[in-house]
Amino acid sequence: MNNVKLIKTIRDIPGDQYEQLAPGHRLCAGCGVSAMVRLVLKAVPDPKVVINATGCLEVATTIYPYSSWKIPWVHNAFENAAATGSGIEAAFKALHRKFGKKMPHVIVFGGDGGTFDIGLQSLSGALERGHDFIYICYDNEAYMNTGIQRSGATPRGAATTTSPAGKVIPGKMERKKSLIEIAVAHGIEYAATASLAYPVDLFNKIRKADAVKGPAVIHYLAVCPTGWRSDPALTVEIARLAVLTRMWPLYEVENGKYKINVFIKNPRPIEDYLKLQGRFRHLLKPENKWLLEKLKQDVESFWNYLVSKTKE
């Protein structure tokens, strides 16, 4: 990707005068979403418009009459953020062509609920049509806003309120969907994963996504102390462990070419990551070892798949 202004260190991140998310929102203490939003809004130049699916980010930042967004922000419904973004992008294209209005950067935020499950069709259509926007899925791995119910993004073995760690069925039995693979299958130019523990990487990926003339998808792991039952202070540490244990590989796909951004040669044991979260506590019990093994297999096989893709 040419001519993209990438940064090298945290100091290069624009300062407070570029802050476009204001405090006073009702996100949980220690929420892993808003710090990412702050970085995204600084990485993308003005003018910009944000479209947000129903979910934690939307609800907590826009309780009438309080709003934390310093830029134009639109919420339509749960499963149509990508479609709404398509409409805004198409309208500005027409207004630009017919009336000379300036084209803004279009950013769409959706949770794993609004992206993986109910919003998948809308995202798929938008990707196929090639609208020029960045789609950022902030994945806290369950429908957190409505009370921690499982989603297609919930990892295998995790306990949620609709996949509880019960006596007969100990947690979610199904594996996690891969959003980047789905996005790449649409033939888009750029898709990447991101983690809060690697802010410069995240910032640069947003810049790269913005540079694409067409759709780009960012899949961001949002640590959720409330839903994951973790200590709010450990949000960044958990986001780092996710990467270091290979549970959350940091990689990007540019025009079909895979690149692992942070190659984990000697992964930390997965238990280090799991033991900090109440939602996985039952997995560390001996009677659930079989499920833990399956989760480890998921992680290993996906990592191997990624490595083989980088060698293509």
Binding site: V49, S67, W69, N76, S86, K98, S122, E128
Partner: protein, 412 residues
């Protein structure tokens, strides 16, 4: 009484010859032509019988360079209306069209569009709801949408389809109205039937509609950013809804002004309610959509035989023209309300309920008979229509009504 103003009469009134064109189109094509002439900016629609011709024609116009618009080939009706909502927020002129199941699929967004007071025009080719799946005309979809806060217009002919589509743009973009509008056209009966109609020149439509953008009162503005679609909890939701409800009531006055202006410019008269021979009528039959024309034809022949019958049809269905209905019906003996919608457990069909509620407070009220007809494209024959009039006359004479609801045209 409605008037068609013939071209010769217009010439006599001093209008230019080539500004009045008479051509043959079907209802769908008439919608597409009106939308093209309106110079929309964004179209997002998903094909569904019997609206497909609208979508096809519009994409032809765009791909041939006749219409400079973004045609967004969305992957479902839900996305169609969502896309159009996003586009309308920028202040662009937008359009979508659907029918039946498509309307049902986009239903949740209907409420959002009207709540945000967006200038959206939607053509609805009225088609029955499944199951069983049926592609022909019922008013199921129009009635499903009636409570969602949209202006609802019903066309009776292909001419009206064209005219009402243009008037819909005038209404939604009026700063005193600011509500989205649905233009109903009976599926297949109007959408696919070729008829003659008078159309404007492109320039005349350009002059009729607003030329500026943004068309929305609070458009996305980078110098004055705003937050659209927030969470409105129990401390604010009701106020926001009340404002919307009052806006719908107040819109009535301005909608009538749009009808008035359009009548002057086109020479074809439009108003919320069309009445035929009601002044001294004993009984009146009311219907929405294409049935109205059939009713008038039968009524005309009955009048020739001295029967005192009248016909009403509503061009404007939402906001409901209560004042005109009250004035017109208060002294009638028997009113037959025809609903092209199955009644499942309600006190009457939707139009029957609207009429009943409107007439309720009168000291002396007409007797009301509800007729369910035409479901899923079932034809109502002239004989069956005549029987309805006769039945009403009988009720009027005897002062007694056996059943308050009858289904016409169904095999026992």
């Amino acid at each position: 009484m409605r008037m068609y103003v013939q071209p010769k009469l217009l010439l006599w009134l001093g209008r230019v010859n080539d500004m009045v064109k008479r051509i043959g189109l079907n209802g769908d094509e008439a919608v597409a032509l009106a939308v093209k002439q309106a110079n929309v900016d964004v179209i997002a629609a998903y094909p569904i019988t019997p609206q497909t011709i609208i979508v096809e024609r519009l994409s032809e116009y765009v791909n041939n360079g006749e219409l400079d618009a973004e045609f967004v080939p969305v992957e479902s009706e839900h996305s169609a209306l969502s896309t159009v909502v996003g586009a309308a927020l920028t202040g662009a002129r937008v359009f979508t069209a659907t029918a039946s199941q498509g309307l049902a699929l986009m239903y949740e967004i209907l409420w959002i569009a009207s709540s945000l007071r967006l200038p959206i025009v939607m053509a609805l080719a009225n088609r029955a709801f499944s199951a069983p799946i049926n592609i022909h005309c019922s008013h199921d979809d129009a009635m499903a949408a009636r409570d969602a806060g949209w202006i609802e217009l019903f066309s009776e002919s292909v001419q009206e389809v064209y005219d009402l589509t243009l008037q819909a743009f005038m209404m939604v973009e009026d700063e005193n109205i600011m509500l989205p509008a649905i233009v109903n056209l009976d599926g297949f009966i109007l959408s696919h039937s070729l008829a003659d109609l008078y159309v404007f020149d492109d320039q005349e439509v350009t002059n009729l509609l607003r030329k500026d953008r943004p068309l929305y009162k609070l458009p996305i503005d980078f110098k004055k950013p705003a937050t659209y679609g927030p969470l409105g909890l129990y401390d604010y939701y009701m106020e926001i809804k009340k404002q919307q409800a009052v806006a719908m009531r107040n819109a009535y006055k301005y909608i009538k002004e749009v009808f008035q202006k359009y009548s002057e410019v086109s020479g074809r008269e439009y108003s919320p309610v069309k009445t035929y021979e009601v002044e001294d009528a004993e009984i009146v039959v009311i219907a929405l959509g294409s049935m109205a024309g059939n009713l008038r034809t039968i009524a005309k022949s009955l009048r020739k035989r001295g029967k005192k019958v009248g016909v009403i049809s509503l061009t404007l269905y939402r906001p409901f023209p209560e004042d005109i209905i009250l004035k017109t019906l208060k002294d009638i003996n028997v009113v037959v309300v025809m609903d092209r919608f199955p009644n499942f457990g309600a006190p009457g069909g939707p139009l029957f309920e609207d009429i009943s509620a409107t007439l309720y407070h009168l000291k002396k009220r007409p007797m009301l008979l509800n007729v369910i007809y035409g479901l899923g494209g079932r034809e109502t024959s002239p004989k069956e229509i005549e029987n309805i009039f006769e039945r009403a006359l009988k009720i009027s004479k005897e002062g007694v009504m056996e059943e308050k609801e009858i289904w016409v045209g169904v095999r026992e």
